[in-house]
């Protein structure tokens, strides 16, 4: 049910697909994080996700919980859906100390602005 739809979306919209897998020159902030100067949006996303897992950044209950628990959707300090950014991650995610996993793709996308028609 999703496959034909997805297939259609991809074949209909080759540009969208290209945005995802084309190698692009990274901005300085990302370059430091990735340790390479070129990557695709998909590759970058995967790298960030594995970084989060490797460094155990999902919902560490320590930092200033009280401050954020109010604005967060969930009161569970062990909520795995929240990423507590370390300094490195903060650098690429708008300096946010906490990021919801659900908004991660949107935040990542900010580093990959749409190409202007030339």
């Amino acid at each position: 049910m999703l496959t034909p739809k997805l297939k259609k979306a991809i074949t209909d919209n080759p540009k969208k697909l290209a945005d995802l897998i084309d190698l692009v020159n990274l901005p300085t902030t990302l370059r430091e994080f990735m340790g390479q100067s070129q990557t695709s949006r998909l590759g970058c996303f995967k790298r960030v996700w594995s970084y989060i897992k490797e460094n155990n950044l999902q919902a560490c209950p320590s930092v200033t919980l009280a401050m954020y628990s109010a604005i967060l959707w969930t009161k569970d300090p062990n909520n795995k859906n929240i990423v507590c950014c370390d300094e490195k991650l903060k650098g690429i995610l708008l300096g946010k100390p906490r990021v919801d996993l659900a908004e991660l793709p949107t935040l990542m996308k900010l580093h990959f602005p749409k190409k202007q028609k030339s």
């Binding site: 049910m1 999703l2 991809i10 995802l20 998909l42 996700w49 795995k80 859906n81 991660l104 793709p105």
Partner: protein, 468 residues
């Protein structure tokens, strides 16, 4: 296979004879190209027709460059250094074949001439010319049949008039290089020269035409062959045609073809009926599929496992689960035991009715009967459980799948992600994404696109206060 052991290379034995005797019974029949497994007879026949060609030896020369003079030098040095080995025709053919893989057609002819000149024992046979013919058919940068004609003329001038093997080789090579029009032209031409295609070649071409070209081109070909050379379509041809129209969802035409079939005096077999039944199933017409089954019974055509699987699939898909279940029993009675496909189709039907637990029960039943579920079975169940909002069970099932390195299908993957996100388990959704990529269930891109889409949807739902 085929590599000459070191011991034989220097032996005084008549190697070729020895190898031939030894190999022919033990060699597993190597598949000639592009055979669909549907026609086991065909494989047999082809092997009888051209055993030598199929069993080509790995040559002592492996050509890497298309340079003609290099190839000549290599061949010459081979002949002069290894005097003991008899360089028989078969061996020379394999040398030529190896060279033809890298060279141009003209160069191959020149090499052949050179080989005959410096190695007079080499008497080119039919297979030698077939190597050249194959090469001329495979070149794609050719918009006429001129080099194919060259090859055929060369053959004829050396006393080998084309026969049906020639036709078959040429047609298959042409079709595989996307030159169907040329194949049609060549078949007509060869038919007028007394080497008409046999039924396998004919049907192969028909299949290629309806797969890659228009139906009208196929019909024209059938008409021309019937009127010009008296070659009529047979049961297999009709099955191909019916399959083609069924895939295009044109069941009326399929029914018409079935009538034409009986007018021609050909009795349809289970394959034809299965194909038509598949057509109905694709359109969700369960009762029509059942009608086909009843017709088979009337005509005395014995249904096989495929018939039943198609029927169970069609009935489940169109919501007639009860009837589908009934067929499980009938299947066992007729000796066609339900397999993973049968159960998966049935589970699909049960899940569509929202009874995911019933589908789980079927899983137990099938395992109890010694039928191993496959990836597709699990994916279907996962999908059903998610749809029925039984997330815990779905996760449990997913863990089993993960342990068994099973692949998720794209539909279940999407549904599972959405269910996880809806229940506020975004992190788990990320893990599933990772597994889908790792297990190569989906391409990175489609896995990510689905994840991104799902998350976007989640954010939107949150904004509207619909989700947590």
């Amino acid at each position: 296979m085929g590599k000459i052991p070191q011991a034989f290379r220097t032996s005084q034995l008549p190697t070729s004879q020895f190898l031939k005797n030894k190999q022919s019974p033990s060699t597993p029949p190597q598949k000639p190209y592009f055979l669909t497994p549907k026609n086991p007879k065909k494989t047999q026949q082809k092997i009888n027709n051209r055993p030598e060609k199929v069993k080509s030896l790995t040559p002592l020369i492996n050509f890497t460059s298309p340079n003609l003079s290099d190839a000549k030098t290599q061949f010459k040095s081979l002949i002069s250094t290894q005097k003991n080995t008899p360089f028989d025709t078969r061996f020379c053919n394999s040398v030529l074949q190896s060279y033809s893989c890298v060279s141009s057609f003209q160069d191959s002819i020149l090499l052949l001439n050179y080989m005959v000149k410096i190695h007079p024992e080499f008497l080119p046979d039919r297979h030698t010319y077939h190597v050249l013919l194959l090469q001329s058919c495979k070149s794609t940068d050719d918009d006429s049949l001129s080099s194919v004609h060259d090859a055929l003329n060369l053959m004829a001038n050396n006393g080998f008039s084309p026969n049906k093997v020639t036709t078959d080789i040429a047609v298959r090579a042409l079709c595989s290089s996307g030159r169907e029009e040329h194949a049609v032209e060549l078949v007509k031409e060869l038919s007028s020269k007394d080497s008409p295609p046999d039924t396998y070649t004919y049907n192969f071409l028909i299949r290629c035409l309806c797969r890659n070209r228009s139906v009208s081109s196929m019909n024209n070909f059938i008409k021309d062959m019937r009127e010009g050379f008296g070659i009529k379509p047979d049961l297999v041809t009709y099955t191909i045609m019916i399959d083609n129209v069924c895939n295009g969802k044109n069941l009326r035409e399929a029914t018409r073809l079935l009538e034409v079939l009986s007018e021609e005096g050909i009795k349809p077999d289970a394959y034809v009926y299965n194909t038509i039944m598949k057509g109905y199933c694709m359109l969700n017409l369960g009762s029509e599929a059942l009608g086909v089954y009843n017709k088979m019974q009337e005509e005395g055509v014995k249904p096989d496992l495929v018939t039943f699987n198609t029927l169970v699939y069609g009935l489940s898909k169109s919501g007639k689960v009860k009837e589908a279940k009934k067929f499980l029993r009938i299947m066992a009675e007729t000796g066609n035991f339900p397999d993973a496909v049968t159960y998966t189709s049935l589970m699909n039907g049960v899940c569509r009715q929202g009874d995911a637990l019933g589908a789980l029960a079927l899983l137990e039943e099938m395992e109890a009967r010694g039928c191993t579920p496959n990836d597709c079975t699990y994916s279907t169940l996962l999908h059903g459980l998610c749809k029925a909002k039984l997330l815990d069970k779905a996760i449990e099932l997913y863990e089993i799948m993960k342990k068994g390195d099973m692949k998720l299908d794209a539909g279940s993957y999407g549904t599972f992600l959405r269910t996880l996100c809806r229940n506020g388990r975004v992190a788990d959704a990320y893990e599933v994404f990772e597994y889908a990529v790792e297990s190569k269930s989906l391409s990175d891109v489609s896995a990510y696109t689905t994840l991104e889409g799902t998350l976007k949807w989640l954010m939107k739902a949150r904004e509207q206060g619909l989700a947590v």
